[in-house]
Each structure stands twice: as structure tokens, then as C-alpha cells.
């Protein structure tokens, strides 16, 4: 299941019983989003829906080739933020959803919904950012569509990108494949994208040197796959890019899909000081904050050393580390071991996190 909306929109973490209308939380990537899919979309789509474990991209057989296919819409506000803009986010996000299936991206489509009155200069900057990001990610932008809606009907501009990629023979990554004994590997420090966005969001603004970590993960993934025996990722079970819902969300999704428990060593998770500080005064948990250039992988213990070494040799995996293990205890649940040797259950956010005073 691909991401639908931008990370960290303020949304509803505790919705009401008898929900009659869409609330922001339905796009937040948490439990509410899942419920919408499970209770509204899948029943309505019926047998035409691919009701597999939730994944970042679908893998389809096309003759002798396997195609990964995904779509994602970007509604981030503001359009420009430290370290990026809606344009590079739209390219990297979709490229990464393909990469999480082990796919090499082939081509992306670009769909724009523009608000009447938008400065063409702004659109130009977004488009240029997309071009640069596509070049960096080695993917072509091959088809597109542009619609304009009346003034006030959209927040400047929205972008949708869909992508197809090719999954090499032998590569089998699936969120339901984690097994007890697997190690959990994280590619680098968490929370940068979410904190960068919040720092420029109306009503919360704060000063920070943190930039969004938005980046294409394809090369990192290919290096990981190549580091395994046979070169096709044997021993890497599952991968996820922890966007909305943060690291906690990704770990919970894989624990649930695989029916295993995850033991997270909280002290091993790298959190930049500024992310820690921003989360402290907003009352947020860094584990719930969005990333756009990180991945978490579930890896067989016999190959984890090689995989981590390969990650560290890649620019985007320099700080790769093992943050936990998979267990047959507490299936479907992620349990953190605190710095004090105690434990706590780590849940994914219901909708999304709100700055709080208490």
C-alpha cells in the first residue's frame, strides 16, 4: 500500500465512534487510513482489489518480467521546506515505494492539480526540482496530466506520481516475510523530514538546522541486495521506508503482517539532537515522526553483517545499524527496551501526532 498523503498533516488520532465524514486522520497513514482501506475501499473494490499484505508497491507479473507499481499523492504544506520541496518529495517518495519491493524504477507519471492564481514561477521551481530528483534517482518522467481548480479549491498545488519498476529475478521482499531471529536494520538517523516540515508550518514555526532527508533509496537497496549470497537479497525479508507514522509505524506494520513480535532497542536508534529537542518541546515521540530518505529492513542474522557493511559503504547508509530483533513472543506487537532496561509497547499513531502542552 503506497502512501496517500503527505506526512504530518495535523489529523485526528482519536476519531469518534460513528464517523460520518472524512477527518484529516483518514489521510494520516495510521490506523484510520488502514481502516478506510479495509472497511471502505477493499469491500467496494471487491474481487478487483489486490488484498495482500499492505506494501509500498504492488508486484505484478508481466510475462517473464515482474513489475512493481505504485502511486502516491503529495499535498505537503508549505510547498518549500528546509532540504526540499513538494517536487523532489514527489519523485523520491514514489521511487522509494518501488525500491521497498526491491525494484529498479523505470518510469514515473506526474499529475498536477493546480490552484487558479498560482504563480508560474512557483510551479517552475517545483518542476525543476522534479527534474533534478528524477535525474539523481535515474528514473524518467514519461507521462503526465495537469488540471486547474478554482481559487480556494486547492492549497497552491498538489502532485501525484505513479511509478513502475522492474523487480529482478530472485528478489523477494514482502512485509509478511519477517521471521523470529531476524535482525532489524535501520539506514540512518530518524525524524529529520517531519521536523523540517514542522519547523516551517504555520502556528508551530521554530528555527532549526535540520533539513528534510528526502532522497532516493534505490542504490542503497541494490547494494543491500547485492551483499547477500547470490546477489538477489536472499536473507533480506522485508523493507519499509518509514514515512508517515514514522519508524514505529513501519515496525508495527511488518510485525502485524508477519505475525511476529519486534524487540526494539531504543538506545540503538539514532535520533539527531535537534530532532530530539523539537520533539521534546512539541511533546512528540521521534519514533512517530516521518522520514523520506530512510529504510528499515528485516534481515536474516547470518547475512546482517554483510548487509550493514554494504549499507555503510553507501552515502545514504553511513549510519546504518541494528536496532532490534524479531521474536515469536508478543506477535503483532513492537516492544521497546528503554535505556533503563524496562520495556514499553510501541504503537503506531492512530492518525498523526499533535503538538501538546501536557
Amino acid at each position: 500500500m503506497a502512501d496517500i498523503l503527505e506526512p504530518l498533516t495535523w489529523t485526528c488520532p482519536v476519531p469518534l465512534r460513528d464517523q460520518e465524514r472524512v477527518v484529516m486522520g483518514h489521510g494520516g497513514g495510521g490506523k484510520l487510513s488502514s481502516e478506510l482501506i479495509e472497511h471502505l475501499f477493499l469491500p467496494a473494490f471487491g474481487s478487483q482489489a489486490l488484498a495482500a499484505a499492505p506494501r509500498d508497491s504492488a508486484v505484478l507479473d508481466a510475462g517473464s518480467t515482474r513489475l512493481a507499481f505504485t502511486t502516491d499523492s503529495y499535498v505537503v504544506q508549505p510547498l518549500f521546506f528546509p532540504g526540499g520541496c513538494i517536487g523532489d518529495l514527489a519523485v523520491n517518495g514514489t521511487v522509494n515505494d518501488l525500491a521497498m519491493s526491491g525494484a529498479v524504477p523505470l518510469a514515473l507519471s506526474t499529475g498536477f492539480i493546480l490552484e487558479e492564481g498560482l504563480q508560474l514561477e512557483v510551479l517552475g521551481r517545483v518542476a525543476e526540482a522534479m527534474g533534478r530528483a528524477a535525474k539523481r534517482a535515474g528514473v524518467r518522467l514519461v507521462t503526465g496530466d495537469t488540471k486547474v481548480v478554482g481559487h480556494g479549491s486547492a492549497d497552491g498545488l498538489y502532485v501525484n506520481t505513479s511509478g513502475v519498476g522492474i523487480v529482478a529475478a530472485g528478489v523477494e521482499l514482502s512485509p509478511d516475510a519477517a521471521r523470529p531471529g531476524d535482525r532489524v536494520v535501520l539506514s540512518g538517523p530518524i525524524g529529520e523530514h517531519g521536523v523540517a516540515i514542522m519547523s516551517v508550518r504555520e502556528g508551530v514555526e521554530f528555527g532549526t538546522r535540520v533539513d528534510s532527508d528526502s532522497a532516493p533509496l534505490t542504490e542503497l537497496v541494490l547494494a543491500m541486495l547485492a551483499a547477500c549470497p547470490g546477489g538477489t537479497g536472499a536473507g533480506i525479508r522485508a523493507m519499509r521506508d518509514p514515512t508517515r507514522g514514522g519508524l514505529a509505524g513501519s515496525l508495527c506494520e511488518i510485525a502485524e503482517a508477519s505475525g511476529v513480535g519486534v524487540r526494539l532497542d531504543e538506545a540503538a536508534v539514532p535520533v539527531p539532537d535537534a530532532v530530539e529537542a523539537a520533539c521534546a518541546f512539541l511533546g512528540l515521540d521521534p519514533l512517530h515522526v516521518a522520514n523520506e530518505g530512510k529504510l528499515v529492513a528485516f534481515v536474516d542474522p547470518t547475512v546482517v553483517g554483510d548487509v550493514v557493511a554494504a549499507m555503510r559503504a553507501n552515502e545514504l547508509g553511513r549510519q546504518a545499524c541494528v536496532i532490534g530483533t524479531v521474536t515469536d513472543e508478543h506477535p503483532g506487537m513492537v516492544v521497546g527496551r528503554t535505556a533503563f532496561g524496562a520495556t514499553r509497547v510501541i504503537d503506531r499513531p492512530l492518525g498523526e501526532q499533535l503538538p501538546r502542552i501536557c
Binding site: C12, L16, V23, K31, V335, A339
Partner: protein, 371 residues
């Protein structure tokens, strides 16, 4: 010195825990008054580290949990009006009223905004002179000075389109109410450190004297909480009832006099209803006569609204430490964070939500014996 990492040192935590273990000879029930402390306890797993028998009772120190249902409904009624920009701390958006919550009001077209500081709401009023800006002023003594300053500034700026819906509560009367309860199990308190930065510690002296109960003013980092427990346990074991300050780096006996002066100008003490507990005399603030014009309840004519709580919810007993959350029949069945019956299941500091989120892994038997 950054005053954070230093107070999260696991090695020093071990020393404090050893000291507690060496002091304890029998079970003790200690209430941490503040929801922020509850959060820290659960977040770091401090309750699991204490010796058997030393038990935390999670206190009523969370505005999300104790703001009465009728106040939420008043907020929802005001927020639904087309001329209103309704501003709130993020915490309150999740709290269910009897029909809706603020998110649903927003989904129906209400202009509901999250602010970090009440001054942001004042700025919104300045920037939108044709709209009515209403701020939901909840919280304890810590939050009262920021909210009071918003009113002072609005007054100074001559803003006629700014008002606040006041649901402020005070800590000492709640502690007294708990101690007056014939079934209360609380033997000592960790007093809320940030409340004391404003109010000082002097108002606890009469409580210590009257109820012969040890009270230790306590901070929020893991070492702060362990030190609070260490001191309370020591006082309990030696039979001393005394007020101690374990948060001396931030709290002085007299508190913040400047803030206290503004509080007594802007607010006056009144009876307040606490969700799940009922009316506690002289336990809250309302706007003083001088600033009554800024009262959103009066301005929008919603002050009379009253409603009933869910009969299934035993949050009141939880807040008073009479039962553990999992001892409520609705816990985890008809009442979950996704579908809360009472406010204690809403806030992550709420005792019920804290239990639900963080303790699902612990067998109920163990939860019962530990707290």
C-alpha cells in the same frame, strides 16, 4: 549542562534504585500528581524498575482527562459557529464531547486551529478583526500564566474579537479531595514540579500538616522521578510527614511572584467540576470581574450547557486511585483509545490510555501487583 541528558543517566538511575530498594521494608502507594510525570514513568518504564510493593497511583493531573464533558460540549458549540476561529492546544482536539470532537467540527466546516502558545491566538485575533477568535484555556497552574497573559495583551491591544473559554483547575484542592476520600489509598505524593515553578511550594505546607502526608515536589526526567520516589519512600519509612523539594533547580518556595500577581488580577478562584470526580470546591479559575468581557462562555451564551457522562466509565475511580484502569469492565473492550468512553483513555497521559498503550504486554496479574 543542558538539564535533560544529565537527568537521564542510567548509571545514576541504578544508584537511586538501589537506595530505594535498601530503604523499602513494606508496600507503599505513591501518587504522581501530574500527567507529565505519568508519561515519563510509562515512557521510561520506571514503574517496572521499582521494588515490589512500591506502587504508582496515577493522579488527575492532565487537563485532557479532567476537563468536564459539558466544557467540551461548550467548546464544540462555539467552534461550530461560522464567525469563530477556535484555537486550542493540540491535546484538546482529541477529546470526545457527548456527540462530537473538535476534529469532526472541523470536518463539518468549523475553523479549528491548533496553537502552540495562547499568544498565537491573540495574533490571529489581530490579523482577523472581522472574525471572533476564541481560545480554549485549559490546564493547571502552569498553563494559567500563559493563558492569563493572552487576556492581558488582548485587553491592552483593545481587541474586542478575542475571548477565552476557561476551564482552569488547581492542584492543591484536588490533592485535598483525594485525601478526604475515605477509600483513598494514597500514602505520599510526588507534587507536580512545573505547577510549583509558578505557585511555589508553600501552599502544600497546610496539606502536609493537616493530613500528615509526605509531599515531594518532583521534576519530570527519569532521575527526577526516582529521586522523588526515593524521598517519599524515605519519609514514609521513617514516619515523617514533610514537604521536600526534589526539583530545586526549577522550583523556589515562593514560586514566580510576577506570574502569581497576573493570575490574581486576571482570574478568581471558583468551584470547578472535574471530569470523573465531580465538583471540587475552590478548585479552579474563572475570569475576574475586570476581564469578564473576555469570557467566551458568556459571550456565546453556552455557559449553562450540562450533559451526562457514560455510565460505564469508571474514570473517576481511576483518577482517585481507587481502581487500576484494567479493573474497569470497559477497559480494552468497549473502551479503547480508538473508541474512548472517558477522557482518561484519550490523552497519552491519561491513566487508562497509558495502561492500554504501554502495558498490553504485561500480564494483568503482574500489572495488578506492580502498578
Amino acid at each position: 549542562m543542558k538539564y535533560l541528558d544529565e537527568f537521564r543517566d542510567p548509571a545514576l538511575a541504578r544508584r537511586l534504585l538501589d537506595e530505594i530498594e535498601q530503604t523499602v521494608t513494606r508496600p507503599w502507594a505513591i501518587m504522581e500528581v501530574c500527567g507529565g510525570q505519568t508519561h515519563s514513568i510509562i515512557r521510561h518504564g520506571i514503574d517496572q524498575l521499582l521494588p515490589d510493593g512500591v506502587e504508582f497511583i496515577h493522579g488527575p493531573g492532565c487537563p485532557v482527562c479532567v476537563t468536564p464533558l459539558e466544557m467540551i460540549d461548550q467548546a464544540l458549540e462555539i467552534a461550530a459557529r461560522p464567525e469563530v476561529i477556535f484555537c486550542s492546544f493540540g491535546d484538546m482536539l482529541r477529546v470526545p464531547g457527548s456527540q462530537h470532537d473538535l476534529f469532526q467540527i472541523r470536518a463539518r466546516g468549523g475553523d479549528v486551529r491548533i496553537v502552540y502558545s495562547p499568544l498565537d491566538a491573540v495574533r490571529l485575533a489581530e490579523a482577523n478583526p472581522q472574525r471572533q477568535v476564541v481560545f480554549f484555556a485549559v490546564g493547571f497552574e502552569t498553563t494559567a500564566p500563559p493563558n492569563a497573559m493572552a487576556v492581558v495583551l488582548a485587553h491592552r491591544l483593545g481587541l474586542t474579537n478575542f475571548s477565552i473559554l476557561v476551564s482552569h483547575v488547581l492542584v492543591p484542592p484536588a490533592m485535598t479531595a483525594i485525601l478526604d476520600s475515605p477509600v483513598s489509598r494514597v500514602q505520599g505524593f510526588l507534587a507536580a514540579g512545573h505547577v510549583c515553578t509558578v505557585m511555589g511550594t508553600e501552599e502544600y505546607d497546610p496539606i502536609v500538616a493537616r493530613y500528615e502526608v509526605p509531599i515531594v515536589v518532583t521534576g519530570f526526567e527519569p532521575l527526577d522521578i526516582l529521586d522523588g520516589v526515593r524521598r517519599v519512600v524515605h519519609l514514609l519509612e521513617t514516619g515523617e510527614s514533610r514537604l521536600e523539594n526534589a526539583y530545586a533547580r526549577a522550583v523556589t518556595p515562593q514560586g514566580n511572584r510576577t506570574a502569581q500577581a497576573v493570575l490574581s488580577d486576571v482570574f478568581e478562584v471558583c468551584d470547578r467540576s472535574w471530569r470523573g470526580i465531580g465538583i471540587i470546591p475552590q478548585s479552579g479559575y474563572r475570569l475576574s470581574d475586570r476581564y469578564r468581557d473576555f469570557d467566551a462562555g458568556l459571550r456565546f451564551g453556552v455557559a449553562g450547557l450540562t450533559v451526562m457522562e457514560s455510565p460505564l466509565c469508571r474514570a473517576g475511580e481511576v483518577l482517585q486511585g481507587l481502581i487500576k484502569p484494567h479493573q474497569c469492565e470497559a477497559f480494552g473492550t468497549t473502551c479503547t483509545p480508538r473508541n474512548p468512553l472517558g477522557a482518561t483513555m484519550v490523552s497519552s497521559e491519561g491513566a487508562c490510555a497509558a495502561y492500554y498503550q504501554f502495558r498490553r504486554i504485561t500480564p494483568p496479574s503482574e500489572v495488578g501487583s506492580r502498578g
